[in-house]
């Protein structure tokens, strides 16, 4: 039972990082990002490849954050020029380009065969303790991300990005530079998603391109909308609901062994889609509201 709870908590932490960083992009700054899974994938592959080649974990994690942020830089530049509906499509296309690249560059990523045997930190502690130690690491990183985002929002810079979200023209008229702020936020959020990817790769220890489809992005959007956009507590609550849907459908299958794995996966997907539609229609502000109309 403890092992199960620890496993669920680790996955919760990883998704919480994704939701928090997406909230930083959209909820606090108004950047519409539908390619979040791209940063997640870059982080996962970077850290996996680095550590598989003998580099220490800290190097893997740092490289994961740095490369994800670097990938966000040109997107941030595009974000300055594009209308928001175009940006949604371009970011979605970006994440698909990332997936195609990791599928095609077999010399680096082994393509669809995936990267097996990714080392996991604390493995020497033995089973049970290793997972708990890993959960500790995840918890520390989530806490650090929460503190970082809170610090960002409360700072003058944070007031600037929220003002950009609410009325960019006014901000410009006041002599501020929305462009630089937007690019920085894009890169910071991407770095957090990249670290989430590294945590995921080292926990699952086996990654294939199919784990990084746009569906992951949509899951994270759903979590953010459900919890309430533009709120740290909302992001955490939404993630908790998302994880309960994942785990609930697994338990349902234990109760009704007649249901096939594929059918369960589809029921779960249908529920996610339905919730997304229902919340947009009837509770656009999420369970904990802050902003009107997503």
């Amino acid at each position: 039972m403890l092992a199960y709870l620890v496993a669920v908590a680790i996955i919760f932490g990883i998704y919480a990082l994704l939701t928090l960083s997406l909230d930083l992009h959209y909820g606090f700054t108004g950047l519409i990002n539908f390619g979040h899974v791209g940063f997640f994938a870059i982080g996962a592959y970077t850290s996996a490849i680095a550590t598989l080649n003998g580099l220490p974990y800290i190097a893997g994690f740092t490289a994961a954050a740095a490369l994800a942020a670097l990938a966000a830089w040109p997107l941030g530049l595009l974000a300055l020029r594009l209308r928001e509906d175009y940006l949604a499509i371009v970011t979605l296309a970006f994440s698909e380009i990332v997936r195609v690249i990791v599928t095609a560059e077999k010399w680096l990523t082994r393509g669809t065969q995936g990267l097996p045997d990714i080392p996991r930190p604390f493995a020497s502690l033995g089973s049970g303790y290793a997972e708990i130690a890993y959960l500790g690491l995840v918890a520390i990183i989530v806490l650090a991300a929460v503190l970082l985002i809170r610090h960002l929002i409360k700072s003058p810079f944070g007031r600037l990005i929220q003002a950009i979200r609410d009325d960019e023209v006014t901000v410009t008229a006041l002599g501020k530079d929305p462009a630089g702020a937007k690019i920085r936020i894009f890169m910071i959020g991407a770095a957090i998603a990249g670290v989430a990817g590294a945590l995921y790769a080292h926990y699952i220890t086996y990654i294939v391109p199919d784990q990084f489809t746009p569906l992951v992005t949509f899951y994270v959007w759903m979590a953010m909308i459900l919890g309430g956009v533009g709120r740290i507590s909302g992001a955490l609550l939404g993630t908790a609901i998302l994880i309960s849907i994942f785990e609930g459908s697994r338990m349902l299958r234990d109760l009704f062994p007649g249901i096939l794995q594929v059918e369960m996966a589809n029921l779960r997907l249908a529920l996610v889609g339905l919730l997304l539609v229902m919340f947009v229609l009837y509770r656009p502000n999420g369970l904990l509201a802050s902003r009107s109309d997503p």
Partner: protein, 291 residues
Amino acid sequence: MGVAYYAALAINGVVEGLIIGLAALAINLVFAVARFPNAATGDLMTVGAYAGIAVQQAGSRNLWLQGLAAVGTGMALSVALYIVIFRALRGRSMLSSLLASIGLAILLRSLLTLFVGPDQYVFRIPMARPWRPMGIPIQPNDLWLAGIAFAAVAASFIVLYLTPIGRQMRAVADSLTLARTSGIRVDRVLVALWLMVGVVTAVAGMVLGIRTVVTPELGWNMLLPAFAAAVLGGVGSPVGAVVAAIVLGVAQELSTPFLGFTYKIALAFAVLVAILAVRPSGLFGRAERVR
């Protein structure tokens, strides 16, 4: 690997481009009038293709009957989605409708997989020997499929540019308030629009299903290339969408010998990102005006 090989690729690209073009047309119709990128477009195509398959499984090999079922289902579903969901979201932000359409896309696809299973189906059509004018292999099936796709595009343009309801659609696309003030019944126009979207997506789904195999992912896989074509063509420009789609289709096919099959898919996105970096409003798009 001579000229004939590339010519065959180019022809294949035109046919593929026409299918993408139909999807892009459906996207741009909604984009122009209802003002959001409709992520459920691909899955509407899938539903249309499965409606055709259902008729086949029921015992009829008549392609016209199958097509009729696809178009009927597409129209009904499309209007139902408008009435139940997108009408309520009118006047809300672009993102609300986009998120709802993503939710719908996921919902439609998972329900479809749940009820028909993940297996693939094929339309059983008579096989024909390819013609070889000047050594270029041409599938006769491709020709009439391209003809149907082209006819659907032409019919949409006739409705859009030569009929009263089409004129009203364009008026609503231009300015909803002005259209309403001039006595246009916006709701009626929007129902007509979604009916048209249903027809176009169903035809696209059928044509794609006949050319390839029908799986629950059939339309979803077309969505991003179609988005790319719609944006490249310029939002609100149905003609641009179709032209961009054919260009993309040909470019994708011709690049296959150089880039390989995996990167062929990425080409559309790469072109999209590159062109938007230079021309943020798309190839044929007008610069965005301040509302």
